[in-house]
Amino acid sequence: MIDKKILEGHNLTEKEFERIVELIGKEPNITELGIFSLMWSEHCSYKSSKAHLIKLPTSGKHVIQGPGENAGIIDIGDGLAAVFKIESHNHPSYIEPYQGAATGVGGILRDIFTMGARPIALLDSLRFGSLSLPKNRAITEGVISGIAGYGNCMGVPTVGGEVYFNPCYSLNPLVNVFCLGICEKDAIFYAKAEGEGNPVLYVGSKTGRDGIHGATMASAEFGEDLERKRPNVQVGDPFKEKLLLEACLEVMNKDLIVGIQDMGAAGLTCSTTEMASKSNAGIEIDLDLVPKREEGMTPYEIMLSESQERMLLVAKKDKVKDVQDIFAKWDLDAVIIGQVTVDERLKVKFEGEIVVDIPVKAVVDLCPVYNREIKIPTYLNSANQLEIVPLPEDLNQTFLRLLSSPAIADKQWIYRQYDHMVQINTVLLPGADASVLRIKNKKMALAITLDGNSLYTYLDPRTGGKVAVAEACRNLACVGARPVGVTNCLNFGNPEKPEIMWQFKEALEGISEACQVFEIPVTGGNVSFYNDTEGESIYPSPVLGVVGLVPNIDKTVSPGFKNEGDLIFLIGKNQDELGGSEYLKFIWDMERGLPPQINLEEEKKAHGLCLEAIDLGLLCSAHDASEGGLAVCLAECVFLEENKIGCEIRLEEQIHEDALLFGESQSRIVVTVKPEDQEDFIKLAQNRNVQVSYIGITGGRDLVIYHHDKKIIDLPILDAFKVWKQAIPNIFKVE
């Protein structure tokens, strides 16, 4: 008998239970209930977000696959396709940072190679609590080691990402993992279960009791019983996954299978029902045939296990032997556990008896969709008020302090732990505006960036959403890449709270508007709700992963100053804005005001100029101004080349000097141009009607900034560099 307590334990409401009974025409047994609870969880069903997600633009002439599959696919020309997606693994990473992050990497890699693509790059977007607390340092170190441990072993380079720190993530860190793969356009595989009687094969690791209820866990708030949830976290085996990757690609290459799906969240349950549902077919499996690593597992446990490194595939009837031979070569088992049927039902046998018999459509497609209540949060009334802060007496010292903020400081301590060069495609290393990967023997290259500023989104979700897209596209423009597709990871609190739902709706509409302006389709992603612990929600944290195409790899540009005597131009305008800035947060401990405003049309024009100037070979460097404003942007231009060339800057705007230096006005790019190219560059800007101003010249061993005739910044490069370089290693130094 299913009672109230059991329903609660499965995160299902009584209404939802009634719907299940109606749909399947009987009261479900416990295994069937378990299956519904997983597939109808927020994590798998998107029941709270669906009503809003439809606002995103998802089509475009280069889209091969939009949302709904394991990953999105974009045609990049030359017969190739880019396959990419972002996923969150937030909840497991708090409970067990190393394994939580590691299995997050494992999961996103499977999403990519399941489609027939070889993964060529990983990036991650991380959010942790303040590093002044030892616990947060431990979580941070654990997550970084977990990402490194899995990605390095797999031989997929971790080429970039972003990391921010805020107390709101202390009890709920965010670990969003992005993967990009490439494949031949005509060799893509889908999660299909077609052809009556075709065998269903189980490949990869054996099934254990790990991860049971992982997806349901990710769909509820955390209380004080965290320790008890530890068994819900899966354990990763990257070596096994590497074998699985090579074996699957080999099988696909030889055209032996009909369809394939990885067993990620919701394991065997999700893979069987989704494959069947997508093909309007059914699946019949026998759990006695499933390879198990533990004794006495019940059908409930086998169906709900989230053991890692497993795949389900449907082979062509006469090719089973060939498939099994290839897996045997890689020391992997490929076991027939069932077959494709036509009755659109999932039938599961265990010890000779049918233990599950339910219609797959009910499980996959008929979950209720909620249009949840929304309400403007009251915190905004005070948070948006910004009193003027006094101008610091010593701007040099303030600048140095800002360079030591973990959000701004050099991240090499982190990315040095990731193999970011394996596969030898990494042209721009981590630290650049976007990561650039060549495609061997092709002229074009791919660029990727992850962006999202959750403080902006907290202060104004709609602007935060727009800025995330705009900044990502700006980062791409700085390396000479045009955006071709977006994947997003939307990390929010409990959607049953109307204020959270309002943040979600606003941010999503902002993202949607920006994607329309930049004409980039959203090809999928992930929604992670219930990022709350003990009643406290995280800041609304959308993360945008944007993939761009560099038409000619030889023309890509990096952020650092290249030569002495180059002219420095600013594309865009400095404005009197300080709200939501890292400067206010780090120096004044204020997370207030309105975030910098953004005009998407102006933004797009700035990108257009930058891209054409790069195409014409007019730029020596390009770097966008973001956290820490113009001053930090200039410092990075100096630091990011080995020979570290200084600069002398003159700014003329009549605005407050703190805003001038550290304000985070949008749509700004600092570029350098050789003196002989300046006329061409200025003419180009005029033709495109984009504001550019000459702000200074590169050279010397100091970073000097004048406001009118007053020197407001004057720092020896090496002093500033040391502060920026050492800040994060110092935090993690073992005493």
Binding site: N152, F239, M421
Partner: protein, 226 residues
């Protein structure tokens, strides 16, 4: 040679085949045939996941018997990163690897200095010349007992050592803590080289350095001369 878990096999193949335009092919660890190769390269990666000691399981691969014979007869064997670790486990090179001194995986560009040009893996280089080349490993902290180190030095088996940008062999430049800053080492007969840095990652200007080509070009030269 490809082991389960190798992940720099395709990179090395690309450089040998597409960049240096040499004939090359993969050897599968389960086979018993070196297919008349002139030089065998053991690539980087995580053979068998490196769950035990790095390289400890790969040494039991079926093809190892043939590799041992090949090396005994003077055939050229290059082990890069995990390949170096495998060669140590096999006993084709002396010593062992410890965890990096900072106990973290390290991926970075470093400088290595050419200590000995009288080997098939460095004859295109100049003594004391610096190469800019990437490393990426967890267990690259080379160790051997003092008497072994003495022998290694006496026989001039150290081919590459970690140096700073000025070419000084300093503790700071010694990224992983290796004894004598050892980055690359041959056997006594000088036909087997193990090195932690990845020459295949520094063989194309687009990737920032072409210094790694010296290692491959040296091999090509010595094969031509033979």
């Amino acid at each position: 040679m490809v082991f389960p878990g190798s992940n720099c096999d395709q990179d090395t193949y690309h450089v040998c085949k597409d960049v240096l335009e040499q004939e090359c092919f993969y050897l599968w660890h389960k086979d018993h045939d070196l297919k008349n190769a002139d030089c065998v390269i053991l690539p980087g990666g995580f053979s068998y996941g490196d769950y035990l000691r790095s390289g400890a399981i790969a040494k039991f691969s079926p093809l190892m018997q043939e590799l041992q014979d090949f090396a005994q007869k003077g055939g050229l064997v290059l082990g890069i990163c995990n390949g170096f670790q495998v060669l140590l486990e096999l006993g084709l090179l002396p010593g062992a690897m410890l965890r990096n001194k900072n106990l973290k995986f390290l991926c970075d560009h470093v400088y290595i200095k050419i200590e000995n040009t009288q080997t098939p893996f460095s004859n295109r280089g100049e003594r004391n010349h610096l190469l800019s080349i990437p490393i990426a490993h967890f267990d690259g902290n080379y160790y051997a007992p003092p008497e072994t180190i003495e022998g290694i030095k006496r026989n001039e088996q150290i081919v590459y050592s970690y140096a700073d940008v000025e070419g000084r062999i300093t503790e700071e430049a010694n990224v992983n803590g290796s004894i004598e800053n050892i980055a690359g080492l041959t056997n006594e007969k000088r036909n087997v080289l193990g090195m932690m840095p990845h020459p295949e990652r520094a063989s194309e200007s687009l990737l920032g350095s072409e210094d790694g080509r010296i290692i491959f070009e040296s091999i090509i030269l010595s094969l031509k001369q033979a």
